[in-house]
């Protein structure tokens, strides 16, 4: 019934002098890519280099919300596949990822927002993803705690209801993928820092780490919020990424009161109830680039103000923990996935902002295909870095973003 009490990702392995593939970062995108490389392509001579421990960064700090109601036709199919993969992965990894497909309710607070939602919903429906525009009363039926009165700061006009979305247990995904990858021979080197990438004749040749050098022909950097800095430091490639701290928090655990993920752009707030009963809620990013992951007094107060209005019963509930993680934001809020372009053998998977968790399953699959075949899959082609050089943004966000003064 229970997995045996033995180390889930093997005993600590010694670092070899060469690997077929080196992956820098021990988060979800790395683990998923390694997992699919072993599963689909039989490539098992892989080292994952993680400075801290697996799941230390965004993988362990996000609030694990999944959905496939993105804005553009390039993104929707990718996220749809990611969403469809959770039950598959639960089975294949034989690890309960605790997928609660409770559905997401994205509140709209103006006529303009309803129009924006309609476009997103039409795009979803066109691609076979279930999503509906509902009015305030229907939203209240789904979420009885919702305040649909007119006299709040942002009265609720309606909502985008996306039934197949939901929440997972993020740590379980990390551990499940790590266990499956390690079982196939992937070596996970924790407490090991990648220091540089060596190139020869424009090709990747080696990776130096705090525990010694490794020869390799393929390197993937998918280190979440730290990717852009690593890629610049190691290869001098400058990415249009701004890194910002994003905070999330939980209340004390409660018996079931909130059955869906509820989010609001106008309030900069989302909330859902975890299986443990906590109301997990997160906010917008801190409005200045930084790598601190520091908490601020402002955000927990802001969050309380927002929840007080649209889920007023939560006024009687207590916050018990706030934490911060990093969001690596691109100008169009779509990621950068590229390979063999800037340097042969070098792959990158970054710029996910706060979408890294929900995409990891499908991205792992396609990045593995990309690395194993050296051919960019059609699914990933729109995400290449060159779109910024061509001034062709992806349109994943309608409104202008403003992370730094120059965008």
């Amino acid at each position: 019934m229970f997995s045996k009490n033995k180390p889930m990702w093997g005993k600590k392995p010694p670092l070899k002098s060469s690997y077929d593939v080196v992956i820098i970062g021990g988060g979800l995108h790395s683990l998923a890519t390694a997992y699919y490389l072993t599963k689909e392509y039989g490539i098992t001579d892989i080292a994952i280099i993680e400075k801290n421990y697996i799941g230390f960064g965004g993988a362990g700090r996000n609030t694990a919300i999944v959905r496939a109601n993105q804005r553009t036709q390039y993104n929707v199919p990718l996220y749809k596949e990611a969403l469809d993969l959770w039950p598959v992965l639960t089975k294949d990894l034989d690890y309960n990822l605790m997928f609660n497909n409770c559905g997401n309710l994205n509140l709209m607070h103006s006529e303009a927002a309803m129009k924006a939602a309609r476009m997103t919903i039409a795009t979803a429906q066109f691609h076979g993803v279930e999503s509906h525009l509902i009015d305030a009363k229907q939203a209240k039926e789904l979420v009885p705690a919702l305040n649909i009165s007119e006299d709040i700061t942002f009265p609720i006009h309606g909502a985008m209801f996306h039934p197949p979305g939901g929440v997972l247990r993020h740590d379980a995904v990390v551990w499940g993928l790590a266990r499956a990858a390690a079982a196939k021979g992937v070596q996970i080197h924790q407490q090991t820092e990648a220091l540089g990438i060596g190139t020869q004749n424009g090709k990747v040749a080696s990776v130096t780490t705090s525990r010694g050098a490794i020869n390799t022909k393929q390197v993937l950097i998918s280190a979440g919020g730290y990717s852009a800095a690593l890629i610049y430091d190691m290869l001098g490639i400058k990415l249009p990424i701004s890194v910002l701290t994003i905070q999330a928090m939980v209340t004390q655990p409660l018996k079931p009161v909130l059955d869906h993920v509820v989010s609001s752009g106008a309030y900069h707030c989302y909330a859902n109830q975890t299986l443990k009963g906590e109301i997990a809620t997160g906010a917008h990013m801190d409005p200045w680039p930084n790598y601190t992951t520091l908490n601020t007094a402002h955000y927990i107060k802001h969050q309380a103000e927002a929840l007080s209005e649209f889920l007023p019963c939560l006024r009687g509930v207590r916050f018990m923990r706030i934490w911060g993680g990093l969001a690596d934001m691109t100008p169009d809020m779509a990621p950068i996935m590229d390979g063999n372009e800037q340097v042969e053998g070098f792959f990158m998977d970054c710029g996910w902002g706060y979408f890294g968790f929900k995409s990891c399953s499908a991205v792992g699959k396609y990045m593995a295909q990309f690395m194993a075949t050296n051919q960019c899959p059609d699914m990933l082609k729109p995400f290449a870095l060159k779109r910024y050089q061509e001034h062709r943004l992806m349109g994943e966000t309608a409104a202008l973003v403003n992370y730094t003064p120059d965008n």
């Binding site: 033995k6 605790m98 009161v257 103000e305 207590r318 120059d406």
Partner: protein, 973 residues
């Protein structure tokens, strides 16, 4: 109800004043000063609730609410920490997480099933077959969680907020904190002292041991409190828990109001120049089997039950302690009437001889090198088994109280959340401050001190250091006091034992999550080798007690188990809020902060229906008919007024003003002529349109320009950013709030305006695109522009905000004969759409560039590229076939307008509808859409996919823009 010990000087209750409350539907009585827990205890309640997983009985443990043991549902509010919540008249109190009652819980069989629930077991079960999971999940959700909140719960009470500035902020009102407050206050500084309990005194307050010269610690605490209260420059916040410490010494907390206060709770945010942390210690829980059985409690809990609340915590007690505080408590409680069978002390030696003598005098046997190994009793403690530390000898004693504590551990959360670091100290067995955050000082027991004099002196020293950061005091004085502190007893040797010699199947390291020592071993075996990971895998420390119970034991146990060296031991992260804080308290007064224009009230009186638009509130409709037919027709055929005050309005002047405009606008701004308006746009480096508006020239290098409503906030920063290396000399003034705008539109607009102004407003004298300045009634300065956004004869009048209402009334009066009407933002939206005048954000999105929306004619290519933001990108985009283009379309067969946001499709998405309406003026449905270039030719059929359309499509045809008055005669009339 139990008789209270009535004559102790330390009591905080008034037994003469009874308070009634309801518990499980019955009326009970406590007394004034009781907490909910002490009142229940006085009424014989021992089992306060049941634990999360195993439904084990739980009771009083620390009296400071470090665990969920005594969390209850109070007045409908879940998870109220009864140990430190004062009882109020009429409170309705209920147990949590019980099936039946806390006394008889039908789920208590779960305790026997722990073998089925090893660490992380839930990841290994319930997902096979897949159908099982949704069913299992429902049960998990029901079983999880402590406390209930009803979806329609309305939180009673008043919640306030206060934002303070101070020189020194002191966290903790015990002896060290009070001494720190006094020493920095003596320097004439402003001092704030925060204390989480309703009274000052901390570690001294409940103790009768001698301070000095026959004075008790309790009396000393009162003396110090009186001194603190006498200082006018110390602002005292009692009953105020500190919940967060942030960058640059921002301290937050919340205050619980007294009856006389106007608030129930108040959020407190303090910006201090320096901070002293004197938060004291909590006790480190002792790990042994059934270490959380009701009847097992910590030393201060047992002692304070007697000294503060006048109740003996039991009748017959066994102590298992590792600190002199335990010996002192045994003596005091014995003298108050508690029978003490035995004191087991973890320490082989090092006890205070005076205390040992007193124990001997009272015939209390002491077992050195012994520890509690197991508490017995199904619901409450009946017996306890003591064991020698090596586990070789045991002895079982009958008792109803086990006072158990492994030692003390400093409360360091205030330091670590502010990014200070801790170091494990082998001498005390505690985590002590290592690197303190800038301008933050630790004092008292946080430093591991135990001696009363040393605690006080360390407070004085910290207060002086904090004062020095505010520029007061001398380093000599600090040196002197530092010497005194050094001469006093330092940190005492502490017990390092974490767990009794047991296997740990029922030794609970975390009460909230029912995590045992055995669970920790299981996690370690699975490869979770860092406390931070074990925390996640076993949930240890993630419950409502926020790690108060396991926070320091977990890393100590893990280090011991892995035989790691002391230097490697790190406590798990503590996170704010340091004390769980109500959302209503954080929200405080929750102000609405929208800007309103000068016309707000008058438009509301006229029936305006308002909407939030960016930072503003604007009138969007003037009737329940959201198609705005009447408003629209009135503008097309008569005359209407719109409040356009939210437009961004700026003046830029100075020798280099023109250069700055040239940089950010795509047009050649040197061609702006006095008396004329120029429409232009700003792009970003990707060529995407950021903003559009008009510019007028007031004089040489002196311009007035408008931006869209949403862009006003960023415009000044935008211009400064893009001229940051040039050293140009210009000034930019944001006039958005100080100027109002009235848009007077419609064929009768001139007839209205000429009645109000003295200047000639004929088409010859004030034609289309002209700009005029004049005064109304020789008093009100007006900047007037002939624009045509809605496609009719229009005047945009820019008026100082203070005169807006006057001008508005004058125009309204003048317009009465024509039946002038208001129109709102939605009517304007349709009117301008019929003219195909774009609104950025509606006909554009982030990725849309100047050329895409057909505004390429604004771009002056003769300006050198480096000078115009976006020009490089525009040049590149000119030859890019893969961009979306803005087109106008009509619906086929007189069909209805598609909904905004509908898609243009074939086999894939090819574009989307920006704005479309059934036009009253044209009597057909028209709109604008952004489509791929090959669909942009006139006559192209557009297949439109709306949400919920299924397989049905509607069709439109690309037509020439604009739809209405293509020659523009009406706006130029």
């Amino acid at each position: 109800m139990m008789n209270r010990l009535n004559h102790l000087p330390t009591l905080k209750i008034d037994t003469a004043r009874k308070i009634s409350f309801t518990y499980k539907g019955k009326i009970y009585y406590g007394v004034t000063g009781d907490t909910i827990a002490s009142a229940l205890f006085a009424n014989g309640v021992r089992i306060f609730g049941r634990s999360l997983k195993y439904h084990r009985p739980r009771g009083l443990y620390s009296l400071d609410g470090e665990c969920s043991n005594t969390c209850m549902q109070v007045n409908g509010i879940p998870n109220v920490r009864c140990e430190n919540t004062l009882l109020e008249d009429g409170m309705v109190v209920a147990e949590q997480n019980v099936k039946g009652s806390a006394e008889n819980d039908m789920m208590s069989f779960m305790d026997k099933l722990d073998w089925m629930m090893p660490a992380g077991f839930y990841y290994d079960v319930m997902h096979k077959p897949a159908k099982l999971w949704p069913v299992a999940m429902k049960q998990i959700r029901k079983a999880a969680g402590l406390g209930k909140i009803s979806p329609d719960f309305k939180m009673p009470g008043k919640y306030d907020e206060i934002f303070l500035n101070t020189d020194v902020c002191i966290i903790g009102g015990g002896p060290a904190g009070m001494m720190a407050a006094l020493s920095s206050a003596e320097k004439g500084l402003r001092v704030i002292l925060m204390e989480s309990r309703p009274w000052l005194g901390g570690f001294f307050e409940y103790r009768s041991a001698e301070y000095k010269d026959g004075q008790t610690l309790h009396d000393r605490a009162n003396d110090l409190a009186a001194q603190v209260r006498a200082r006018e420059n110390i602002r005292l916040f009692t009953h105020t828990a500190c919940v967060g410490t942030y960058n640059n010494n921002l301290v937050t907390g919340f205050q619980i109001g007294k009856k006389s206060d106007v608030f129930d709770q108040r959020y407190v945010e303090i910006r201090a120049k320096s901070v002293v942390v004197a938060a004291g210690c909590i006790e480190r829980p002792l790990l042994f089997d059934n270490n959380e059985r009701p009847g097992v409690m910590q030393i201060a809990c047992a002692l304070r039950m007697a000294k503060t609340y006048g109740q003996l915590p039991g009748t017959k007690a066994v102590f298992s302690i590792g600190h002199d505080l335990g010996l002192e408590a045994a003596i005091e409680l014995h003298d108050l009437g508690l029978i003490i069978d035995c004191v087991a002390d973890i320490r082989e030696d090092g006890q205070d001889p005076a205390l040992m003598q007193k124990l001997m005098d009272r015939n209390i046997p002491i077992l050195k090198g012994w520890v509690a190994a197991k508490a017995h009793g199904r619901k409450v403690v009946k017996k306890v088994t003591l064991s020698s530390i090596d586990g070789l000898m045991t002895r079982t004693l009958a008792c109803d109280l086990v006072v158990a504590s492994a030692g003390v551990t400093p409360v360091t959360g205030h330091i670590t959340v502010a990014l200070g670091t801790l170091k494990y100290d082998g001498h005390t067995g505690c985590f002590l401050p290592d690197r303190m955050p800038e301008k933050m000082y630790a004092a008292g027991r946080v430093l591991g001190l135990n001696d009363a004099m040393a605690i006080e002196a360390s407070g004085t020293l910290a207060g002086l250091k904090a004062a020095a950061d505010c520029g007061a005091g001398s380093s000599e004085e600090i040196g002197k006091v530092a010497k005194i502190v050094a001469s006093l007893p330092g940190p005492a040797r502490g017990s390092k034992l974490v767990t009794a010699p047991v296997k740990g199947r029922k030794s609970f390291i975390c009460f909230d999550e029912d995590a045992t020592i055995k669970n920790i071993k299981q996690a370690l075996a699975k490869g979770f080798d860092v406390p931070e990971l074990i925390k996640r895998f076993t949930a240890t420390g993630l419950g409502p007690g926020q790690g108060g119970i396991p926070g320091h034991n977990l890393p100590l146990y893990v280090a011991k188990y892995q035989t790691l060296p002391d230097v490697s031991i790190r406590p798990t992260n503590v996170r704010p809020p340091l004390v769980p804080t109500l959302i209503s308290t954080y929200a405080g007064t929750n102000h609405t902060m929208f800007k309103i224009t000068a016309m707000d009230q008058m438009q509301r009186k006229d029936g305006g229906i308002f909407r939030n638009i960016g930072v503003w509130q604007r009138a969007r409709y003037f009737s329940d008919d959201f198609s705005c037919k009447k408003e629209i027709e009135n503008v097309r055929n008569n005359v209407g007024m719109l409040d356009g005050s939210t437009l961004g309005k700026f003046r830029i002047h100075g020798p280099d003003a023109l250069k700055a405009l040239q940089r950010v606008y795509v047009s050649d701004m040197s061609k702006v002529k006095e008396g004329r308006i120029k429409y232009s746009a700003m792009c970003n480096d990707d060529g995407c349109v950021m903003d559009d508006g008009v510019v007028v020239k007031l004089g040489e290098n002196d311009y007035y320009f408008t931006t869209s409503t949403g862009r006003a906030g960023q415009t000044a920063e935008w211009i400064r950013y893009h001229t940051r290396y040039d050293g140009w000399d210009f000034a930019l003034v944001n006039l958005t709030d100080s100027m109002g705008v009235i848009n007077l539109s419609g064929p009768n607009a001139r007839k209205v305006l000429e009645k109000v102004v003295d200047i000639d407003v004929s088409n010859d004298a004030f034609g289309f695109s002209a700009y005029r300045e004049f005064k109304i009634a020789d008093t009100i300065p007006v900047r007037a522009m002939r624009l045509g956004f809605v496609g009719e004869l229009s005047y945009e009048l820019h008026v100082p905000a203070s005169y807006m209402q006057s001008v508005w009334i004058m125009l309204k009066e003048a317009g009465k004969p024509f039946n002038i009407q208001n129109f709102g933002v939605e009517a304007q939206n349709v009117l301008r759409m019929e003219k195909c005048h774009i609104i950025l954000g509606q006909e554009s999105e982030q990725r849309t560039n100047l050329l895409d929306v057909g505004l390429g004619f604004l771009w002056d290519r003769t300006k050198s590229e480096a000078k115009t933001v976006g020009a490089v990108a525009l040049r590149q985009a000119e030859n890019d076939p893969a961009r979306l283009k803005l087109v106008g379309f009509k619906m086929e067969n007189n069909g209805r307008a598609p909904k905004d946001g509908a898609l243009i499709v074939d086999t894939k998405v090819r574009g989307y509808v920006c704005t479309a309406r059934d036009s009253f003026a044209l009597n057909e449905a028209v709109g604008m859409a952004l489509v791929e270039a090959d669909l942009s030719r006139i006559g192209t059929r557009l297949e439109i996919f709306e949400d919920e359309c299924g397989d049905d499509r509607i069709y439109g045809t690309v037509v020439k823009m604009p739809f209405y008055d293509p020659e523009g005669k009406r706006m130029k009339m």
